[in-house]
């Protein structure tokens, strides 16, 4: 993988921010888009745009073909046996809400339990809180260990006959922890539960195969994997998707409509009510093409290298506290930290003045912030276009931040 070439694929990175080269270290929030994806979006609107699955005209056929081809690409990308097992959604949040409301809610009772971790992103937490509230089911949390990982022993103790759902992030968006999804899937299946995986931080960054994970559902977002915003996907095992109820109703998703009742199309179209996100899906298909051309193994390896380098360089910064698995442990392509008592917002503002974009805040994981006992943290996250010199720029900017606040901070 020739990094300098890859950076050239992303036009947005070729600019200055506040007089400095833009160093974009916020890909866990959203990734940048390669020219090929931007071109496909433009071309779709210039030559193929029409509504899908209706109309006999040529553009209608082209748009439908492009939309369904994108579904095939996404399905192949995650190893789904059948393209029909991929539902297009607005993103991870919508995907998880669909599972919570369309699948879990009708089948859970007050005797049932949902097992998750306190490190979940709000999008894999609040839908389950809501379902628990309505059904009376209980939420059970696999505790985090000192380094932010979970132990399978703890998981074994919690996942039992009452467990109906295990919901977990493949990779934590704050700690970078990689959870043992396959082992958890086996535990869940032993007791007849299903496992719902939040793949928002894993699918863009490493080879993910739903057969290897044996997950029942996998949710992910297009915009974190070089695709446009507003498009994502939900993978499900065929049986579950067929049993799952649509969460909204209207045009496109119906089979026969009578005055007092209606029937639905087959999976996955019954979940895609209304005019779908056609251009978004086509753009996501182009993003998949782009990632596959580079290779997910190569991207994972690159993430590993950059993150390892970042951990090494950041551990040399005096007063900087790093959260999550220790150096050397497997982790996703991000590092979350605090710089002494300087608030992450202040750190982020000083970094921005040097062209370095990081995330500061609670990262949609308030319960985890409480466990870490911090109001907020700073996070640098990496992707295929980041280089070691980006990490160097981060470390230099952190030195500036320290210098800047040295006299002001007690």
């Amino acid at each position: 993988m020739d990094i300098s070439k890859i950076k050239e694929d992303f036009p947005i990175l070729n600019q200055e921010i506040n007089g400095h080269r833009l160093v974009y270290l916020d890909s866990a929030a959203t990734s940048q888009k390669p020219q090929s994806v931007i071109d496909v979006l433009k071309r779709y609107y210039e030559t193929d745009n029409a509504n899908v699955h209706r109309g006999v005209h040529t553009l209608g056929s082209r748009a439908t073909e492009a939309y369904e081809l994108a579904r095939e690409k996404v399905a192949r990308f995650i190893g789904a046996p059948d393209a029909a097992q991929v539902v297009f959604t607005r993103g991870t949040t919508e995907s998880l809400n669909m599972v919570a409301y369309g699948f879990a809610r009708p089948r859970l009772t007050a005797e049932d339990e949902i097992v998750l971790t306190p490190a979940e992103h709000h999008s894999n937490l609040i839908p389950w809180q809501q379902v628990a509230r309505v059904t009376g089911a209980k939420l059970k949390y696999i505790p985090l260990q000192e380094d932010g990982t979970i132990s399978l022993e703890d998981a074994k103790k919690l996942i039992g006959p009452a467990t109906k759902i295990v919901a977990i992030a493949h990779v934590s968006n704050v700690l970078g922890t990689i959870h043992p999804v396959r082992e958890l899937a086996d535990l869940a299946h032993e007791v007849g539960a299903v496992i719902v995986v939040d793949g928002a931080q894993s699918v863009p960054h490493m080879p993910v195969d739903v057969n290897d994970l044996d997950c029942d559902f996998l949710a992910f977002s297009g915009h974190k994997m070089c695709g446009p915003t507003g498009i994502g996907a939900l993978y499900g095992k065929r049986k579950w998707l067929d049993e799952m109820e649509p969460t909204y109703f209207g045009g496109e998703m119906i089979d026969v409509v009578e005055l007092y009742e209606a029937t639905w199309k087959e999976t996955p179209w019954k979940f895609e009510g209304g005019t779908p996100i056609i251009a978004g899906a086509v753009g996501l298909g182009a993003a998949v093409d782009y990632l596959e051309k580079i290779g997910m193994d190569a991207i994972r390896e690159h993430d590993r290298e950059i993150t390892g380098y970042a951990l090494k360089r950041l551990s040399e910064v005096e007063g900087l506290e790093i959260y999550g698995p220790a150096e050397g442990a497997e982790r996703g392509g991000l590092v979350t930290f605090n710089l002494g008592s300087i608030h992450p917002h202040d750190v982020s503002t000083v970094l921005d003045a040097e062209g370095v974009a990081i995330r500061a805040g609670h990262h949609c994981a308030q319960p985890l912030m409480r466990i870490l006992n911090v109001p907020a943290t700073a996070r640098a996250s990496f992707y295929l276009y980041n280089t070691k010199s980006d990490v160097d720029a981060l470390v230099d900017a952190l030195a500036s931040a320290k210098e800047f606040f040295q006299h002001a901070i007690v």
């Binding site: 608030h343 917002h345 202040d346 003045a353 609670h362 912030m369 002001a408």
Partner: protein, 141 residues
């Protein structure tokens, strides 16, 4: 964009040595947070005859939000409630980059640089939002 425009010395002084700390026993109390970033403030108002007799705060957050809170308490203490709210209006206009009478704002003008940092506007206005809310609770009126 100059960092020194944002982080003026008077701001850093308030951040480092926040004024009007220590909560009161008998006061209207409002808790407010900025959900997108986690900043928190508890603001207390003691009103007598329509005048802000005492004001205290406790909070956690970035330098801008905490300094702004500290400066706000100093600015409104002793003012009539309606004048304090008017001052808040002027402060918000300034933070959004509009021209405001600098005499009226006094020390608060030090926060004018925030207007060049759109992402930090919410930090600077959190305490004033809390003041608004506290002044409009039934206990006060």
């Amino acid at each position: 964009m100059q960092l020194s425009e944002l982080y003026r010395q008077v701001i850093m002084d308030h951040y480092q040595h926040p004024r009007n700390q220590g909560l009161l026993e008998d006061a209207v109390s409002v808790d407010l947070r900025n959900p997108s970033c986690g900043d928190e403030i508890t603001l207390q108002l003691q009103i007598e005859d329509g005048v802000v007799k005492d004001v205290r705060f406790k909070g956690s957050g970035c330098s801008i939000s905490m300094a702004s809170a500290s400066m706000m308490t100093e600015a409104v203490k002793g003012l009539k409630v309606e004048d304090a709210l008017k001052l808040g209006e002027s402060f918000r206009l300034m933070i959004r980059g509009q021209d405001v009478d600098s005499e009226e704002l006094g020390d608060l003008e030090a926060l004018q640089g925030v207007s060049q940092f759109p992402a930090r506007v919410k930090c600077a206005t959190l305490a004033w939002q809390a003041l608004d809310r506290a002044a409009h609770t039934d206990d006060v009126r």
